[in-house]
Amino acid sequence: MIARQTAYRGSALWIAAMVHRVSGLGLAIFLPLHFLALGLAIEGDAKLESFLRWSDQPVVKFAEGGLVFLLTVHLLGGLRILVIENFPWTGGQKQLATLAAAISAIVAFIFLARVF
């Protein structure tokens, strides 16, 4: 009975919904830190510059690549939801969700290729 109730889990569109939620959660957790980092400019250019030099570390750049992926996948996933809800376009959603993930991975990869 429980297995039948949770059979939808693991389907492409369930994974897409989960990716949308988890990416949104990740971005929401990151945003206050992003704002605090930019807010360093209040204390002077040197403070912001010092933070930016700290962010040159490879591990930080990889994290930034992850954030670019989260932002892009959340944008494309959100656009898919807006289209489904507002237009008579319901076909090919699994393919669209897969395409959204693929485009996001490519965008993040290009970002990483540029910053390294």
Binding site: G24, I42, A46, E49, L71, L82, F111, R114, V115
Partner: protein, 109 residues
């Protein structure tokens, strides 16, 4: 999620879609040769356009993220809706305040 929150969630999403696209383009532009404080501030300081763009962005994301956080809290944690709503409002206010502080930091000369 009630209808009012649903409409706010979707409206802020629609507002932010083009803003996020531009933001991604800015990220790519800003990181083309490494980022420096002087580079960022030379673009933003005294710019009413950047202040308006990011002001709208911060206002929309504060509402959007707060409603999303409320949904996560009510669906994934054993929290009553009222308590989840209070945490979500606090989170939205935090984003709004920190976001506008960040804008002031990079726009005001």
């Amino acid at each position: 999620m009630n209808v009012r929150l649903y409409v706010w969630q979707r409206t802020t999403a629609a507002i932010m879609a083009p803003l996020v696209l531009v933001h991604i383009a800015v990220i790519f532009y800003a990181t083309r040769q490494g980022m420096s404080a002087a580079d960022i501030l030379s673009r933003t300081q005294g710019s009413i356009a950047w202040a308006a763009y990011y002001g709208l962005f911060v206002a929309a994301v504060s509402i959007h993220a707060a409603i999303g956080m409320r949904n996560v809290l009510t669906e994934w944690l054993p929290l009553m809706e009222r308590r989840a709503g209070r945490y979500a409002i606090a989170f939205g206010v935090l984003l709004f305040v920190l976001g506008f502080r960040a804008i002031a930091a990079v726009v005001l000369p």
